[in-house]
Amino acid sequence: MKYCIKGGEIVNPAGEYSGVGDLLLDAGQVVAVGQELPVEDAVIIQAEGKMVLPGLIDMHCHLREPGREDEETIASGTRAAVKGGFTAVACMANTNPVADGAVVIEYVLSKARQNGWAKVYPIGAITKGLKGEELAEMGEMAEAGAVAFSDDGKTLTNPAVLRSALEYAALFDRPLLLHEEEPKLADAGVMHEGYWSTVLGLPGIPALAEDVMIARDLLIAEYTGGKVHFCHLSTAKGVGMLAEAKRRGLNVSGEATPHHFTLTDQALENYDTAFRVSPPLRSEEHREALRRGLQDGTIQVIATDHAPHSLEEKHREFALAPTGMIGLETAFSVAWTELVLGGWLTKEQLVEKLSVNPARLLNLPAGRLQPGDLADLIIVDPEWEWVVKPEEIASKSKNSPFIGRKLKARVETVWVNGILKYDGQKFVE
């Protein structure tokens, strides 16, 4: 199918053309980007007043398949992704069984080929069974299609294992995505340690728990020359250390999630488990540090850490509820509302963090609108105001902290490989 998207604002920081113009796509590829393109026999899509962006890429989500298909499947998770404007997602290895060998990576890819709405790039485990002891077969997983390695959800507490993993992963030029939390300092904590944990009487996790591990792992990264990416940064000192490491030329990067740069620990005031997440929502000074880190380029990526959980698991005592929140369908609008309308980022910077940079870090052929590229792209209506409602969520789980929140901007139309997947408010089957 041939489409011509006319008159939209093309926000394309990694490509050659940005600005108001037309975009022609055919046979799965971008054919031309520019002004006053010939329409020929294409389906015309009027995009005046809208933005045309390269498809978003989430380098950190949980699709729960295999193992917890009651919470999410590759089909439902990628539907949620597409609805949120993500044309590609990288899914974490903490499935059941763990994605610590080529077989599970191949299973995920095969399911994605059958049922996927967006492209799926599996992330392999760093260690067997996420136990932090023995290296998983990274080579075979890389060959099968793993784009990165991570024991996300679990910190690699043994520094010798991390050292080996970084040295070994260099063979395949894949980054390690690290979850940073010193378990002894986090102890039985269930929220950020500070004024609100004292008010609520819940055991706290100090920012120190994250900072200590980031400091350690930066030293190991420097020593090994390995490629390290810090998942869901949540502390001011963590951002500062990342900035300093980059100044020293280390091969390091980091991501922030929409919930961490939008919400604070005060959101837990009524013990609502929708706000329980790992790392925890922190205080205002940390939230602001994340925004500054995004603004000055220290944090290159916005990732969702989309973590679906069933209602039954979440509707219980705060300290016993699982950590995590969904985010694929709200990420763009939250980031737009908070960061672009809030004056922290330009729209070009937002596209870099949600598309260009994740593509670069994971070596994906995406993040750009250029003739010859695969046509993964979205149209966004920046004026569309909406309220997050559970009945409108495409994910199997509804554990969103943004339910009831009014957001600006919404993804309107989505193409993956030039195939229309979402149009207006409906999926194109």
């Binding site: 500070g194 004292t198 819940l202 219980r316 300290a319 016993l320």
Partner: protein, 313 residues
Amino acid sequence: MAKLPKDLLGLRELNAEQIQLILDTATACKDIFSRDLKKVPTLRGKTVVTLFFEPSTRTRTSFEIAGKWMSADLVNLTVSSSSVAKGESFVDTARTLEAMGVDLIIIRHSLGGTPRLLADSVAAHVINAGDGAHEHPTQGLLDLYSIREKKGRIAGLNVVIVGDILHSRVAKSNIYGLTKLGAKVTVVAPPTLIPKGIGEFGVTIETDLDKALRDADVVNILRIQLERQTKAYFPTLREYSKLFGVNLSRLRQARPDLLVMHPGPANLGVEISEEVSVHDQSVITEQVTNGVAVRMALLYLLTGGGNKDEILH
């Protein structure tokens, strides 16, 4: 006129007027204590359940006596051994009680916030009888009542709270209540037992007990939970006792009218010496008595009581 919310989950959410209402009502309830026949029909026909996920003979019995003297039908549930063992969810337990037509649920739980989850799940009134390290509002109220009874006022008093502030729900309910009624509060503990952000509660933080006691009108001594020692908050009980225990020599250094309080049960010889616990200046046993009066007042006020004269008839 002050009115209480549907549930009593903590003193943080009450204002000074509401706290005064409870204390005034408790004064009326305390009259019943001097009667030969300690029973009024005020709560006849009301069903009250005590739902304890954590053992506490003291608090549960106090609620039970309060309920019985007011003629409520009382059911005690100790849950740790029944439904939780069967894998029943907390929310399901709450809904089951609701379906049985319970009017008021008194809950104790080891996890902060569980009374809130209960209150949000049922239409019945809920009283928090202590949840994790969050709040213990009825203990806070009986402490306020005891201070007011002995000192005639709360505003302007210097109150020292000494002990494990980090894990103490009693400390926090005390802090909210005392500061709302105009007292000055100083918390004293080793730095390892002082929680983050406690200064923002409007209290003074002190690590020198002798210094803190110098101008104190009241000292409220918290129980040291012996099992917490394994976490290395302080080296030994002996050293704790030396630095933070209230003994006779410390009492003699303080003002002669210093009021000594302890929510109990006390580790005698650790945070408080036996001599101090039975000293003329100690009101520890009266606190227990006042606990019944305060709990009667709460049962009455939450189940719809308005005029405190009704209690006595």
